[in-house]
Symmetry: D2
Subunit: 140 residues, 4 copies
């Protein structure tokens, strides 16, 4: 079921000047901007982006992230960022891969894990809320 | 009255790595981080920082800004940022100066202008709200 | 001659989550990211982007900038950023306008001024270097 | 030997407005700014910060990072960031912990891993270069 094409998305980006540090490569903290653009595009495929999350009464803070920087990214490099939904039952795990657009070489792998927090009670949900399953079109 | 010492503040900062671009100098958009740190310290002297603004029912968006970059700033440079309240009757104008800490040379001058917007009505205030005058300890 | 279509460019962008502050609007310092993307696209039309600048032996630091924030920008807002080359003889002045894509409303006007600095001597050029005129296809 | 007090540092910071997102918490990618300020302070204890790295002929790109966000950070929160050198033989592993300054509660744990790349040859070093051991005052 995670083979549903809606569970994966790819976006193409160009590295802007202001993301590059004095070593001439994208500063490691700025990769999260690219992951976020891809993640938001992925979640919008299910009508469950940040706005809808908030409207549904849940916040989804990132609680864990890992990035493996296999190759550097440079100014004006054209990249393809792939985001894949990997888990949703108890938490939202999204995996990322960045590819150099010209060569197809994979430069980066990463993941983020988000958990639902009910906004009103500020309580952590140990099982993802029903609204997520509805949006994903899956049974819990 | 604008000679009241509370109408001026100075903060000392060190330029971090992630603010510097591939030309080896602080990227021009990142100066606003330094201005903001000084502005917030200035406004906190009057108990009218962002939190208090919001609690008072007003937002104060920046509507105009200018920066004159006279000299560059480099990684690990120690700087002193001075913020001065210049106008408050109808809008909040704050002027900024950045100095190299070691030499005292002034590298940057700037200003920001903010106007009050009543949060509930989203209406722009053509005269600053009473709460600002109270915090500043001035008569309108 | 400034009516040459290459002296103007427009780029379309979507406001990402990480540019928006806790007031729910794009933080005023982040507008420079949008201006920069448009400026770099404009300069690339002349083959005189950052890389070519550096290769030509000149740096072009921003020495002056002004922004008038007429309306706020919000998360996921679709915008069109127009950059226009306005001066080049002694300095590079580029004007910017941001428009809401849906309504066409202009939300922001701004400019940046850059001057040439010869990298080797670190000396400021009071007249723009010949390479700029060649790239622009104009006579000094 | 990793109990040498120079292998640990703590810095105190205040969360600035521009690091906080529209959910009212520090955006997850901005934590790397705090880690970097602490890391640079740590490396400066050994006279092997970014400048010295570059002067020594080696770049030290971050190749792996993980962050566990246990609690959120909010605007103006006072925090203490601890950085500890954990490995240096073949790579530089630094662990981070963020604590709320008022309560002492630990909100975040993280690590970064950097490897030496010889700048001239752009070749990855499988063993850390001699200059690192000299700076650390250890035998390889």
């Amino acid at each position: 079921m995670l083979t549903d094409p809606r569970f994966t998305i790819e976006v193409e980006l160009t590295v802007p000047f202001h993301d590059v540090d004095m070593m001439g490569v994208v500063w490691h903290g700025n990769y999260f901007r690219y992951f976020e653009i891809a993640r938001e595009a992925l979640l919008n495929q299910f009508d469950y982006g940040y706005r809808q999350m908030k409207q549904s009464g849940y916040l989804w803070p990132v609680v864990d992230s890992q990035v493996k920087y296999r190759g550097v990214l440079r100014f004006e490099q054209r990249i393809r960022v792939r985001a894949e939904l990997k888990e949703y039952q108890n938490r939202l795990r999204i995996d990322y891969q960045i590819f150099d657009l010209a060569s197809g070489t994979r430069t980066t792998t990463a993941y983020t894990i988000q958990v639902a927090v009910e906004e009103k009670s500020q309580e952590l949900c140990f099982v993802s809320p029903a609204i997520l399953f509805q949006c994903l079109g899956v049974t819990p």
